[in-house]
Symmetry: C2
Subunit: 157 residues, 2 copies
């Protein structure tokens, strides 16, 4: 009887330890990774915009998953899929050259494998300040982060 | 020695069962809930827009968490927080009356406690068709779903 009781107690303790260590590991990993995830997202967005403003819009499709969706004010309907996004971007190749720009109020919120980056991109065109509001939703797949949805709106004067 | 081995095997089996049942429960719950989550999100968005188009924009703030953020083409910078959102919406009370509208290509993607709804809202103003593209990001907290970010863009003619 004592042996049975001991076995039962032992099993309970081991199950408890296994459960706790699983939970601890998960919450530690999450809190440890948030800062590095934010750095990855900002670096990816910066690289994409550096290419965009240097006449190479295809950085956007390179930074997107196959099922990416996209909105901007020029569109009648949402762009669905990487192929449609490439088709949309191709005519813009060589056309946009902006020497410098800055992120206004960048905010990144991380929810597991989803990261939401919002900011206003600000630059000058001749003597006018131009502002584009961006919502960039990244998802982590296979240890890489890319866009699953992108939405851009120009501030109307 | 046999008793020890048996105990070890028993413990291993129990740990395996506990682990598997945890994983199964989680994936079953997720797949079972996706359709009902989508229904909740669509009902919330419809209710919000029904109020908006009946002169009551405060449905948007009622449908938002405290840390909601918001973009549209009229803004210079992102609206951050429910208080700032209410301040933005208040002057619009009583001003927007649209008898009917429809969702073009609504798409909801659910990632755990985050749901991303994108669609184009289409309605008539006199003889013109007006199209607004929407990205509505909902988060589940305390068994309720509300907006954490909302981004609207009017199609430019």
């Amino acid at each position: 009887m004592n042996m049975r009781n001991n076995t039962f107690i032992l099993i309970s303790i081991i199950c408890l330890i296994v459960g706790c260590s699983k939970n601890n590991q998960s919450s530690k990993t999450t809190s440890m990774n948030v800062d590095s995830i934010k750095n990855i997202i900002l670096a990816k967005e910066n690289a994409t915009l550096d290419r965009w403003y240097s006449c190479d819009p295809m950085g956007f499709s390179d930074n997107s998953w196959e099922d990416v969706t996209y909105f901007d004010p020029s569109l009648t309907r949402r762009v669905d899929s990487i192929d449609a996004f490439r088709e949309f971007l191709t005519p813009i190749i060589g056309k946009v050259h902006i020497p410098s720009h800055k992120f206004d109020k960048p905010l990144i919120r991380v929810f597991g494998d989803i990261a939401i980056l919002t900011f206003t991109d600000v630059f000058m065109v001749e003597k006018d300040t131009v502002r584009w509001h961006a919502t960039e939703i990244y998802q982590q797949r296979n240890n890489d982060w890319k866009l699953i949805h992108s939405h851009w709106t120009q501030k109307v004067k």
